[in-house]
C-alpha cells in the first residue's frame, strides 16, 4: 500500500522532467535493471577508492557525471514498477538500491562540493554543464525525500518480515523516538528545580549583599544565570536528543532539532542583546528611561526574529537542496540580509554607541567615536557596535573575575604592565605638600592595623601560646617573618596587648642593631631571666635578625641565643625576622632547630589596602580627583569607583600587599592641583636602571644590606669581604641616588625604593626566595 502511495506521489510531483531516454529504459526487465544499478554502485565505489589520487575538481566532475546518471532515470522504475507490481521481489530490492544509490552519490557530491569550497574554488560558472546540473538538482528534490521515506519503509518491511524479533526491533525503535520527546521535558523539570534553588540562594545573597562584596557579586551572578539557565538546559537537552538520534535508525530527524536549537539561540541572543544595549544606553542617557527600555525591547525582538527567520529559511534550503550549486548561489543572500539588518539596527543606536565609545579610556575607541560624528557614520555604526560588544564583554569578564584572588593578581599585573609603559604626564606637576604627608602618617597609625585578630595567621599564634600557657604543649617558640613594612611589629604589639590584658607576664624587647657578640646578648638574657624568675613569661622579641652577621663567627651569638631558649623552659618566645634574614638563618643555622613554628605575615588584600589609605586620607581631609588615565567607566558614580579600583589594584600589585609600601606609593602618586584638592596620578617611578650602572661589588653590598635589613660600613665590609673603600662608595652612591638612608651610621633601604631594589637584586640572583 505504501509503495502505491509513494508511486502516486512520484507521478504527481511537479518537477518531473521525463525525457525520452527515461522512458526508453522503462521497458527493461527487473534483472537487467538491478544489474545496471550494481554497475553504477561499482563505479561509485571505484571513485571512492581513487579519491586519494584524484584532484578535487576531477573527483567532483566524476561524481557529478555518475550522480546525473543516477538522477536522470529516476522516473523509470516507477513506470516499470506499475508493470511489474506484485510480480517479483528482486524488483523491489532494485528500487531500494536505486534510492540508496541516489542518497550515496548525492552525499559524495555534496562532500566534493564542500572540498571545492574549502579550497576556495568557485563551483558556479555559466556553462551548459553547470546549468544542466542545477536543473537536475531541482528535479531530484522530491525524490530525495521520497528516497528517505522509501528507505525507512523498506527497512520497516524487511524487519517485519523477520517475524517477532524484527517486529520487536521496529517497535523498540519507534518507542525510542517517542521517548526522546520526553528528554526536553525532563530537562525542563530539572531546570525548574535548579531555578528554584537559585532563587532561594539569590534571596539569601541579596540580604547579605549589604555586608560583603562577594555576596553582591553572587546576587548579580545568580540574577544573570537565572535568565540564561532554562535556555542552557534546553540546549543541553537538544544536544542529548541529537546524540541519541544519531545512534537510531532515524538520523534524519536531527534536522528538526536544529530548528528548535535556533529558537533557543534566539532567546539567548535576545537576553544578551538587551544586556549590551542596556549598558550602551545607560552610558549615554540621551533619552528618557521609559523610551530607552521600549527601544531596547523592540530592537532585540525585531533583530532576533529576523535573524531567526533568516536562519530557519537558510536551514530549510540546506535541508532541501543539500550542498549544491544552487545553494551556493542562494547562500550569500542570507548573509546580505543579515548584514543589511545589522546596519539598519546599529544606525538606529548610533547616538548611544557614540556616547559609549567616547566615555571609554581606550584611545582607539575614542577615535572611532570621533569618526562617527562625520557624515559617513552610518557605515561606522555597525563596526562600532561590534567594538562596544567586545569592550562590554571584556569589562564584564574583568568585573566577574575580580572576585577571585588569582584573577585579582592577574588583573593587577596587567594593569602594572599597562601603566608602566604609559607616559607619566604628571611628573611636571607639583608633589604633595609636607603638611599632608605629616598629617597622613600621623593619622595612618590607627588604620594601619586591619582586623589581624580575625586572621588564621594570628589565631594560629594565639592557639600556640594558649596551649603553652595551659601546659598542653612544650613548643615555646614562634617565629614571625615577612617583608619590611608588612606589619610584623604591629602583630607583636597586638599579641602583647592581648596577653597583658589576660594577666600574663609579658616582656617586649627590641633588638638594637647589631648584637653579634655574646656580651651584647647577655643584657637581653639577663632581662629575660630576671622577669621569668618566679613565673611564666612571654617574650616578644622584635627584630631578632639583628642577632647575627653573615661572616665567620657572626652566627655564634645567634647559636647561643638558641641554646638559651632551650634552657629557659618557662619562657615563650615570639620573635620577628625580616624575610631574607629568616631564610639566610634557615640555610646556615637551620631555622627549624628551635623555631619549629614559623608564620609568614600575610599580605594585605586590595580592600584592606584601599580602606587603610582612604580612611587615613579622610582624616587629613582633602578632595581627591583621579587622573584620566584611571577612568574608563561610563556612569559618573561608577567612573569614580572604577578609577579608584584601578588605582588600588595597581598600588596593591606594586607594593605586593605590604601596607608600608602601599602608603609610600600613595604619597608618590599624589599631585597638587588648584586649591586644596589633590590629583591621584601614576606613582612616580624610581630610576632603577641607575643601579645597573654601578659595579658588581656594589651590588654585593646592597644584597648584603637586604639580607641583614641594616648594616654599617664595617659590618658590610665584613659580611661581603670587600674593601671598606668599596663599601663606603656603595653607601654614598646609595645615599646620592636616594635608595639608601642612614641613621646613626647604619644604612638601610628607603621604603620608596625597597621593592624596586629587591626586584633588581632578585633578577641578578643575588637574593632569592626559598
Amino acid at each position: 500500500m505504501v509503495n502505491q502511495v509513494i508511486f502516486i506521489m512520484a507521478l504527481l510531483l511537479p518537477f518531473q522532467m521525463i525525457t525520452a531516454q527515461d522512458l526508453e529504459g522503462s521497458q527493461k526487465t527487473s534483472v537487467s535493471y538491478s544489474e545496471r544499478l550494481s554497475e553504477l554502485d561499482k563505479r561509485l565505489e571505484r571513485i571512492h577508492q581513487d579519491k586519494e589520487s584524484l584532484t578535487t575538481e576531477a573527483k567532483y566532475n566524476k561524481v557529478s557525471v555518475l550522480w546525473e546518471d543516477v538522477a536522470k532515470n529516476l522516473k523509470q522504475h516507477f513506470v516499470s514498477y506499475s508493470d511489474a507490481e506484485g510480480v517479483n521481489r528482486p524488483w523491489q530490492e532494485g528500487v531500494a538500491l536505486r534510492f540508496q544509490l541516489l542518497r550515496k552519490v548525492s552525499n559524495e557530491r555534496e562532500q566534493a562540493l564542500q572540498e571545492l569550497a574549502l579550497e576556495g574554488k568557485s563551483i558556479f560558472s555559466v556553462d551548459s554543464n553547470t546549468l544542466r546540473r542545477i536543473g537536475v538538482e531541482i528535479r531530484i528534490i522530491p525524490y530525495k525525500f521520497l528516497a528517505y521515506f522509501y528507505e525507512r519503509w523498506n527497512w520497516v518491511k524487511t524487519r517485519l518480515s523477520e517475524g517477532f524479533v524484527g517486529a520487536l526491533h521496529v517497535f523498540l525503535q519507534l518507542f525510542f523516538i517517542l521517548l526522546l520527546a520526553l528528554v526536553p521535558v525532563v530537562f525542563f523539570k530539572v531546570a525548574k528545580l535548579v531555578e528554584s534553588k537559585i532563587e532561594k540562594q539569590k534571596k539569601v545573597s541579596f540580604y547579605l549583599s549589604f555586608r560583603s562584596q562577594w555576596h553582591r557579586n553572587l546576587t548579580t551572578g545568580l540574577t544573570l544565570l537565572s535568565e540564561y539557565l532554562p535556555w542552557l538546559f534546553t540546549l543541553l537537552a537538544l544536544e542529548v536528543v541529537d546524540i541519541l538520534l544519531a545512534s537510531s535508525e532515524f538520523t534524519e530527524l536531527t534536522y528538526v532539532t536544529v530548528y528548535l536549537s535556533y529558537y533557543v539561540y534566539y532567546k539567548v541572543f535576545r537576553v544578551t542583546l538587551e544586556l549590551v544595549l542596556r549598558e550602551v544606553a545607560s552610558s549615554s542617557l540621551v533619552a528618557p528611561k521609559e523610551d530607552i527600555n521600549k527601544k531596547i525591547r523592540t530592537t532585540s525582538r525585531f533583530l532576533g526574529l529576523v535573524l531567526l527567520t533568516t536562519y530557519c529559511v537558510k536551514m530549510a534550503f540546506l535541508s532541501i537542496l543539500g550542498q549544491s550549486i544552487l545553494f551556493s548561489i542562494i547562500e550569500p543572500f542570507f548573509g546580505f540580509i543579515v548584514l543589511a539588518l545589522l546596519f539598519f539596527v546599529s544606525s538606529r543606536w548610533e547616538l548611544e554607541i557614540e556616547h559609549y565609545l567616547k566615555q571609554t579610556n581606550v584611545f582607539f575607541l575614542q577615535a572611532v567615536a570621533r569618526r562617527m560624528e562625520n557624515r559617513f557614520s552610518l557605515f561606522l555604526s555597525l563596526p562600532a557596535l561590534v567594538l562596544v560588544g567586545i569592550h562590554f564583554l571584556l569589562n564584564r569578564t574583568v568585573l566577574w573575575g575580580s572576585q577571585f584572588e588569582f584573577m585579582k593578581v592577574v588583573y593587577a599585573k596587567v594593569l602594572r604592565v599597562k601603566y608602566e609603559t604609559t607616559k607619566n604626564d604628571s611628573l611636571n606637576m607639583e608633589k604633595v605638600d609636607e603638611d599632608y604627608v605629616e598629617k597622613f602618617f600621623a593619622a595612618s597609625e590607627q588604620y594601619r592595623n586591619p582586623k589581624v585578630i580575625d586572621t588564621d595567621f594570628y589565631q594560629d599564634i594565639v592557639k600556640q601560646l594558649d596551649l603553652w600557657a595551659a601546659d598542653e604543649s612544650t613548643e615555646q617558640t614562634v617565629a614571625i617573618f615577612g617583608s619590611r613594612g608588612c606589619g610584623k611589629t604591629r602583630v607583636l604589639r597586638e599579641l602583647e596587648a592581648h596577653y597583658s590584658e589576660m594577666g600574663h607576664e609579658c616582656l617586649a624587647i627590641d633588638v638594637t642593631p647589631k648584637i653579634f657578640t655574646e656580651k651584647g646578648l647577655d643584657t637581653i638574657i639577663e632581662q629575660v631571666e630576671k622577669a621569668s624568675k618566679d613565673e611564666n613569661l612571654i617574650v616578644f622579641l622584635d627584630n631578632a635578625h639583628n642577632l647575627f652577621l653573615s661572616t665567620v663567627g657572626g652566627f655564634s651569638t645567634y647559636r647561643v641565643f638558641l641554646e638559651k631558649i632551650e634552657e629557659m623552659k618557662n619562657v615563650f618566645w615570639v620573635a620577628t625576622y625580616g624575610d631574607f634574614s629568616w631564610q639566610l638563618l634557615g640555610s646556615v643555622v637551620g631555622k627549624n632547630q628551635y623555631f619549629r613554628i614559623e608564620q609568614k605575615v600575610p599580605r594585605w588584600t586590595i580592600e584592606e589596602i584601599k580602606n587603610c589609605i582612604l580612611k587615613t586620607h579622610e582624616v587629613v581631609g582633602r578632595k581627591l580627583v583621579y587622573d584620566e588615565i584611571f577612568r574608563s567607566s561610563q556612569k559618573l558614580e561608577e567612573g569614580v569607583a572604577s578609577a579608584e579600583n584601578r588605582f588600588f589594584y595597581l598600588i596593591w600589585e606594586k607594593s605586593g600587599g605590604i601596607p608600608g609600601l602601599a602608603q609610600s606609593f600613595w604619597l608618590r602618586s599624589l599631585r597638587r592641583t588648584h586649591g586644596e584638592s589633590l590629583k591621584v596620578c601614576l606613582p612616580v617611578e624610581n630610576p632603577i636602571s641607575e643601579l645597573s650602572h654601578l659595579n658588581q661589588e656594589m651590588h654585593f653590598v646592597y644584597a648584603s644590606i637586604m639580607k641583614h635589613e641594616n648594616l654599617n660600613v664595617s659590618e658590610a665590609a665584613r659580611a661581603t669581604n670587600l674593601p671598606r673603600a668599596i663599601v663606603k662608595q656603595a653607601m654614598f652612591r646609595g645615599l646620592e641616588e636616594g635608595f639608601l638612608c642612614e641613621d646613626h651610621g647604619r644604612y638601610r633601604f628607603t621604603m620608596d625604593w625597597y621593592e624596586d631594589v629587591k626586584k633588581y637584586l632578585k633578577g641578578k640572583n643575588l637574593i632569592y626566595e626559598f
Binding site: 659580611a719 640572583n765 632569592y768
Partner: protein, 275 residues
C-alpha cells in the same frame, strides 16, 4: 626527463632575478640571526636571572631560522621541479659523499645536539682537555670560551662520539668543589665547622641549595693526610672561579688563625727511596 631537459631547467634557475632574490634572502636570514643573537644578549643583561634561558631559546630559533629559512628560500624562489631535484640530489649525494661529508655530519650532529641537549648555551663544560663556557651552538660547530679567554671551536660531530661533562646543565647556579688538606692530628670538627662558615658567608654562595662538607683520608706526596671537600653552589656560573678563590683565600686564613694543622710535607730524608 632526459639530461638535456635537466640542464635547460637548471640553467633557467640561474636567472639574475632569482639569484639576486636568493642572495638578498640569505643576507636577510643571516641579519635576522645576528639580530636574534644580539637581542638575547640584551635581554640577558636586563634580566640576568634568565640569561641562559634567553640564550637557549635563541639557539633553537637560530637553528630553525637557518635550516627552514634556507630550504624555504630555495624552494620558494627557485621552485625546482621534482625531476631536477632528483637529478641534483644524485649529484649532491656524490659530492657530499666525497667532499662535504664532515660538514653535513656536523650539521646533522648540530640538530641532534639541539634536541638531545647534552649541554646548552651558557653551560660550563669539559670536553677533551678543554674547560669553558659554551657561547654558541652553531650549524657546524660549538664555540666554547675557556677561562683564559680563548675561543675554542669544536665541530659538532665530535660530540657524537666523545664524552662531554656539563657542570650546570642549563641552570644559572653551579656546584663547586673545594678541597682543603689537613694534618692527621688536626682538629677536624673545628676545621669542618670553620670551612662551612667560610662557604656559607661567601658573597658568591647560592644558599637555596645545600652546602656539604665531607672528610676523607688521602695519601698525598708520600704522606697520609685528611682531606676536607666542601661542595657548594655559586649563584651565577660566571663567578665560579671567584667563588673558589674566595673560599680558598678566606678558608686558608681562618684555618691558620685557628691553629688548624696543615700537612707540612716530608723532609727529603723522610721520603722513601726512589726505585
Amino acid at each position: 626527463m632526459n639530461s638535456n631537459d635537466s640542464l635547460s631547467e637548471f640553467l633557467q634557475l640561474l636567472q639574475f632575478q632569482k639569484i639576486s632574490t636568493l642572495v638578498v634572502g640569505l643576507i636577510l636570514i643571516v641579519a635576522v640571526g645576528k639580530f636574534l643573537k644580539s637581542l638575547s644578549g640584551k635581554l640577558g643583561e636586563s634580566a640576568p636571572n634568565y640569561r641562559l634561558q634567553f640564550l637557549q631559546v635563541t639557539t633553537i630559533l637560530s637553528f630553525l631560522l637557518y635550516i627552514l629559512g634556507t630550504v624555504g628560500l630555495v624552494f620558494g624562489v627557485l621552485k625546482p621541479s621534482k625531476e631536477l631535484l632528483l637529478a641534483l640530489g644524485g649529484s649532491a649525494a656524490v659530492a657530499v659523499g666525497f667532499s662535504l661529508k664532515d660538514l653535513v655530519g656536523s650539521i646533522v650532529a648540530g640538530v641532534t645536539l639541539l634536541f638531545d641537549r647534552p649541554f646548552q648555551v651558557g653551560d660550563r663544560v669539559t670536553f677533551d682537555d678543554t674547560y669553558g663556557e659554551i657561547t654558541n651552538i652553531g650549524l657546524r660547530a660549538v664555540r666554547l670560551q675557556t677561562l683564559d679567554d680563548n675561543e675554542v671551536t669544536i665541530p659538532n660531530s665530535k660530540f657524537m662520539s666523545e664524552w662531554v661533562a656539563s657542570g650546570n646543565s642549563g641552570a644559572l647556579d653551579m656546584m663547586i668543589v673545594c678541597t682543603f688538606h689537613l694534618a692527621l692530628d688536626s682538629d677536624v670538627a673545628k676545621a669542618k665547622n670553620l670551612i662551612y662558615q667560610v662557604v656559607a658567608t661567601s658573597r658568591f654562595v647560592f644558599l637555596k641549595k645545600p652546602i656539604k662538607v665531607l672528610v676523607s683520608e688521602s695519601y698525598e706526596n708520600f704522606e697520609l693526610v685528611l682531606k676536607i671537600a666542601v661542595k657548594a653552589y655559586v649563584f651565577d656560573v660566571r663567578f665560579e672561579k671567584d667563588f673558589e678563590s674566595d673560599i680558598y683565600e678566606r678558608g686558608t686564613a681562618i684555618l691558620a688563625r685557628n691553629d688548624i694543622k696543615r700537612p707540612q710535607g716530608l723532609l727529603p730524608s723522610e721520603m722513601p727511596p726512589a726505585h
